[in-house]
């Protein structure tokens, strides 16, 4: 029988420290934070404590998943770690995670350096490798500490970002279940809209790179900090997301009515509310999880997926559409028929 692949289990971990609404009110003012809450829909955000890296969230999530579902570590033959805040420039942090997780030597491991689209890209790679017979059971991990990349006085980004990571088990399922397909895209002309300009090899870090500048709105940053052109990213999202959803559904001769759950990259509630309206999705067919979490970059989709799954919003047989979009500019969407053999999300630990 021909096969397919699907997400079989998932887990996530968030930063231990809460950067609260009140703290940011004191830093940026009452009016600013009212706008952030009303606009982005983010009240508090979970950030990493000093010394914790994105890979640590991925590791914790993976260990929870492996232990809860009693996964044989020797059976994992593919590890993909998605991050834009790696432990080191080299080796790939996936190799470090390979050691920490005690995986078998006959296991491919590599990083995917993308942001908000990373999870869908990684699923497409895992799916492709499984369908080609190169792998059979994959751990797709995500993890970032983007809160560390921003200047503390950059009001445009500080209130938005949270830190966290996730783990997903991807494995073989029967042909009539699992991934129906993927649609991936890039617009490199937008690469400057969300970027850390200095510190790589194009603009090596020098003292000048750390010089702080203040923009017209009073936001402070240096070339070594994350810069985001919010309006440009917003404009990109409200164009690309509806087009991609329409295109992916059309490729598979489906309509929005036939999709049981839409899971969007959790960037900004105002944007998501508009996308839901524009694509004409009933609100009960989507899920939001960012008010007390923040935008965890590429981990938002596996995190919102796991939260929805824990709340029984995802059941075997349902058709789920996931779409990530952002830095690059890059985007990816997938349609998946949830498998009967899914092991389930790792539940929250008891209070």
């Amino acid at each position: 029988m021909r096969r397919n692949s699907a997400v079989l289990a998932s887990s996530f971990a968030l930063g231990d420290q809460t950067l609260t609404y009140q703290e940011l009110e004191a830093r940026f003012g009452v009016e600013s934070m009212k706008k952030v809450l009303a606009g982005a829909g983010i009240r508090n955000r979970q950030v990493a404590t000093p010394g914790i890296c994105g890979s640590d969230f991925a590791y914790a999530s993976a260990v929870n998943l492996i232990n809860h579902h009693q996964i044989d570590r020797e059976s994992i033959d593919l590890l993909i770690f998605c991050t834009q805040s790696p432990d080191y420039f080299l080796p790939s942090t996936s190799c470090v995670l390979h050691e920490r997780l005690g995986l078998a030597k006959r296991c491919a491991a590599f990083d995917v350096n993308l942001g908000c689209s990373q999870y869908v890209y990684a699923l497409s790679i895992a799916h492709g490798m499984i369908m080609a017979g190169t792998a059979s059971r994959a751990l797709v991990l995500t993890g970032d500490t983007m809160s560390r990349t921003v200047h503390p006085m950059d009001r445009a980004v500080v209130p938005l970002l949270g830190d966290g990571g996730s783990a997903s088990l991807v494995g073989v399922v029967p042909e009539d279940q699992g991934f129906l397909g993927f649609e991936l895209g890039t617009d490199g002309t937008g690469h400057k809209y969300l970027m850390i300009p200095a510190g790589g090899f194009r603009n090596p870090a020098t003292e000048a790179m750390y010089t702080e500048t203040t923009d017209a709105e009073g936001n402070v940053r240096s070339q070594a900090n994350l810069y985001m052109n919010g309006a440009a990213i917003f404009h990109f999202a409200i164009s690309v997301v509806p087009e991609t959803v329409k295109s992916l559904l059309s490729t598979h001769s489906l309509t929005t009515e036939q999709v049981d759950l839409f899971l969007f990259h959790q960037a900004n509630k105002y944007m998501l509310d508009y996308l839901v309206k524009k694509i004409k999705i009933p609100r009960e067919r989507t899920h939001f999880f960012l008010e007390d979490v923040g935008n965890t970059s590429g981990s938002t989709i596996p995190i919102v997926m796991t939260d929805a799954w824990r709340k029984n919003m995802i059941q075997p047989g349902m058709l789920v559409l996931m779409i990530g979009f952002g830095v690059g500019l890059s985007w990816g969407a997938t349609l998946v028929r949830w498998p009967d053999s899914a092991l389930g999300p790792v539940p929250l630990p008891p209070e």
Partner: protein, 77 residues
């Protein structure tokens, strides 16, 4: 959508009266004209006028007329 309807929608986003929006009104004169407002304007234009305006057309607008020019061809006179 007519020009007057557009003026009313734009005024509502800025939390001002439509009468305060003349062709040469300088937008930076309003305390509510900021990068968060740009997003609301983009959504309003996308939703109500039916076009997606480049963000620099909004962020770079000096007067209300500059905004109107970005959407003029899609408005009824």
């Amino acid at each position: 959508m007519t020009k007057e309807q557009f003026r009313a929608e734009f005024a509502e986003i800025l939390d001002v009266s439509p009468d305060e929006l003349g062709p040469e009104t300088i937008l930076t004169g309003f305390s509510t004209w900021d990068s968060v407002t740009y997003l609301a304007v983009m959504v309003m234009i996308d939703d109500k006028v039916g076009i997606t305006v480049r963000p620099d057309a909004i962020a770079g607008a000096e007067t209300f007329n500059d905004i109107l020019n970005a959407v003029a061809e899609r408005l009824e006179s």
